[in-house]
Symmetry: C2
Subunit: 104 residues, 2 copies
DNA sequence: TTAATTTATGTCAGATTAGACATAAAAGCA
DNA sequence: TGCTTTTATGTCTAATCTGACATAAATTAA
């Protein structure tokens, strides 16, 4: 959120903070969640580049459509483990994986 | 293994192949295992840099010594998830994490 | 619009993983 | 050497994660 918008909201009486503040997450918990979101977004990006539906990707991953949807959304029920395994199945190299993770 | 050594063994009648060949792993399975090993090695590196014993690190991670040993060894009972979470607790940045993963 | 396709959300049983514990093995030191 | 500290290995139960399924919501095409 930009500073101007933050100030405006505060002037109106809103208490403004980050989601992290709100949920009381530690830095490492926040980093974990953000990393998961990034990986999920990249999985979606790769799926769309290959012009696959979630069902088609699910077949490749030997999973199902609902889990693919949750992976792409970084759902709490999905581990980073599964996301990395999925990216590797799609042929993502370690260098590419590193590139994804480096994205802030 | 270098080529000269491979040739010598083959000349002696040995059948030479990679561990991957032997176990019949797919490329992505191999990549997953290697990635886990790399992360475990880095966790150990960071522990030693901080001059911590496995017990001390376990306390920080709210885990126990045996699991730390398994993490450092890339044991099958340890997920990449746990390794990444542990590195993040130790303050590893995403850029550092990317650097680790990029290591062949 | 409506129908078809695609994606999102909720639940659950089975599989996997984590922490705890015991104990063995290895390393360091007197 | 023996004693201490550290690390490795094996097993258990509880907790977490996954695939499967149902179904709702959203998107697309006709």
């Amino acid at each position: 959120m930009d500073k101007a918008k933050t100030k405006k909201l505060k002037d109106q009486g809103w208490i403004v903070g980050s989601t992290q503040d709100f949920l009381g997450l530690t830095d490492d918990e926040t980093a974990y969640i953000e990393l998961k979101l990034t990986l999920g977004q990249n999985l979606k990006k790769r799926r769309l580049e290959k012009e696959l539906t979630q069902i088609q990707l699910a077949r490749i991953l030997k999973s199902n459509q609902s889990r693919v949807a949750k992976m792409e959304a970084g759902d709490p029920s999905v581990s980073i483990d599964l996301l990395i395994k999925s990216l590797l199945v799609l042929g993502t190299s370690r260098q590419e994986l590193a590139g994804i993770i480096a994205l802030a």
